[in-house]
Symmetry: C2
Subunit: 363 residues, 2 copies
């Protein structure tokens, strides 16, 4: 049912747009084809772990139509008391680092042990061209075959803020549907890893070994955000290089300040192909959970994240409202030029724009 | 004249406050004692390098009175064409890392060579308690003795956003007054280093050597922001430890992605006491400048910073306007609690607050 959400059909809509975008029309069209459920029916379906109904509820979240958004919001609020019980794991790494293979290997292992796995993605349209993220469920064929696994491609349209919000809302729904382990995948080359970091319990960075290759394309600052670094594709002739990289990063990470969690980030090697290292990584993730639950950081971080999203949503809305006000955008472009030419200061430009904005308002 | 701006008298005012704060009253009182200059006289004085008039203009920038702010803005706009020609160097490090001694040693060396040195600070009131930053000019006695050196303590009141804006505006005035090397000092334990990073050309992190001590209190993420790390107090029995730390950080930094500047961050040791390493650090800073001027990054970064401050100022104002609207603050506190108790989602809380805000407005 999500064929229109594949990245090949990605529709780029501008910030804050969405009242009548083609993405919205598609979602509407999709929903019209289905039987219309009530909020109560959605809730029951989700709580019963019905993946079809869960999928349709997520489509409501992703819809740009206000009616759908309102209904989605109601469903989310009703799911809230049943959410929060999963372990949320963020996975990042540049294209080619083997994210899909890794998630499939780890996810399949966990699914075979009876865990219920959901895989979500968070990359906004603007970052999609850099690598196909979950664009195709067939990349996780083995995992997708499990009845208690759920793989959801990234929303195909929208800016980071919008996509991130939708992903966070989707987490709640998946948790209410009983998924106990949720992977949120992102490509580690843009801004999205900060958004992922602010909605997961554990942040895992995947890196490709090789002489210096591991750095290719990775954004500065990501390494310090990671609770664990896994050097992927540590098999065959790559094994030695991977182990060298592991040793180097292990000693380097000790030179950095301890994380607030008190957890010392670990560096490991793994091979999704040979299925080595996967079990060890999972053991360390569960060790991290036990450690942070015990020292109180686990719930402290969740609370901080909740407040972060409350205030972040307000900030985003205020900005969108500002830049969608008549003339502000064109005026901003003009002042940008004057600022760059040193004709006016950044602060004067801001002041003039704000005066223009408030002059048309009673705020 | 800045006795009321010492941190000992720091007055904590809330975000966006300031129409009739005691800081404002003090500034008013100070200015009343002086002869009142016109904008034209201020400009002439600044362009002539008159440190007294420069100081008074900065006091206008720091004033909370709208009349002063307007006059300050006029002066800044008029100084703008004469600004931009200095090298702006950010210096951070935890209390005890020896920031003042280092700046005094480097500043005195440069002043003796005829360079005109200005030293500013950026720490907001809330971070001041963690260390006395430039609270006292006497900490840089030798440097202060030079006629072409200018040391300005941090504004004593305000939030990070406000203090950062004032510091950036002060940079323009100092440049118009002919200062060619501007140090902006900050304590590296809070949020302020990001603000500093967004207004300097070069970012230097000072670290204290010692078995693991170098990490004490440093915020994660700062190391990756640095263009150079200097291990301070590398003298006497400390020398060996400092050199070991230097070697360790040098190899660690190679494991991190290259900065956008293309510059490979360096790690050095120095002793402000023995005056060793200081010259080498300065040579590398000038090498950095030549390197980034040549590859275009120097001016690219300045342009990015100008736009950053334009949009950042708008964002801050929109937020302040929101949170100062009647009932929003108390309502936000109530919803915060409900979000933390999982009674409503972060997004619903944001939505309810935004509805309340817009319901009272025509925006």
């Amino acid at each position: 049912m999500n064929s229109s959400h594949k990245h090949k059909n990605a529709i780029s809509i501008t910030k804050g747009a969405g009242l009548s975008s083609s993405a919205g029309k598609k979602a509407l069209h999709q929903l019209k084809k289905k039987r219309q459920y009530s909020v109560k029916e959605y809730l029951e379906g989700i709580l019963n772990g019905n993946r079809i109904i869960l999928s349709q509820a997520i489509t409501l979240i992703e819809s740009a139509l206000p009616g759908h958004r309102n209904m989605a919001q109601e469903i989310i609020e009703k799911c809230l008391p049943y959410s929060g019980k999963s372990l949320r794991i963020g996975i990042t790494g540049v294209p080619g680092a083997g994210k899909s293979s890794f998630i499939e290997a780890l996810g399949t292992m966990l699914a075979s042990e009876g865990r219920r796995i959901a895989v979500l993605a968070i990359d906004p349209t603007s970052e999609r061209s850099k690598g196909s993220i979950l664009g195709d469920k067939t990349r996780m064929e083995n995992l997708a075959a499990y009845q208690h696994a759920f793989i959801r491609p990234s929303p195909s349209a929208g800016t980071l803020g919008g996509v991130a919000r939708k992903t966070r809302e989707t987490i709640f729904l998946c948790e209410a549907a009983g998924f106990d382990t949720i992977f949120i995948e992102t490509v580690g080359v843009g801004q999205s890893e900060t958004a992922v970091h602010s909605m997961v319990d554990f942040f895992l960075l995947l890196m490709l070994a090789g002489a210096g290759d591991e750095l290719q394309g990775i954004k500065r600052g990501i390494i310090e955000m990671a609770d664990m670094v896994a050097i992927t594709k540590a098999d065959g002739t790559n094994t030695r290089k991977a182990e060298q990289a592991m040793a180097a990063y292990n000693s380097a990470l000790h030179l950095f300040p301890a994380a607030e969690s008190g957890w010392m980030p670990r560096v490991l090697t793994c091979s999704a192909y040979q299925k080595t290292g996967i079990k060890m990584i999972w053991e360390l993730i569960t060790e991290y959970k036990a450690f942070t639950v015990k020292n109180g950081y686990f719930s402290k971080k969740r609370k901080k994240q909740s407040l972060y999203w409350m205030y972040e949503t307000i900030d985003q809305n205020l900005k969108e409202n500002f830049y969608h006000t008549t003339d502000i955008k064109s005026l901003a472009a003009r002042y940008e030029k004057e600022v760059l030419d040193d004709k006016i200061s950044s602060f004067m430009a801001a002041r003039l724009l704000l005066e223009k904005y408030y002059s048309g308002k009673t705020v």
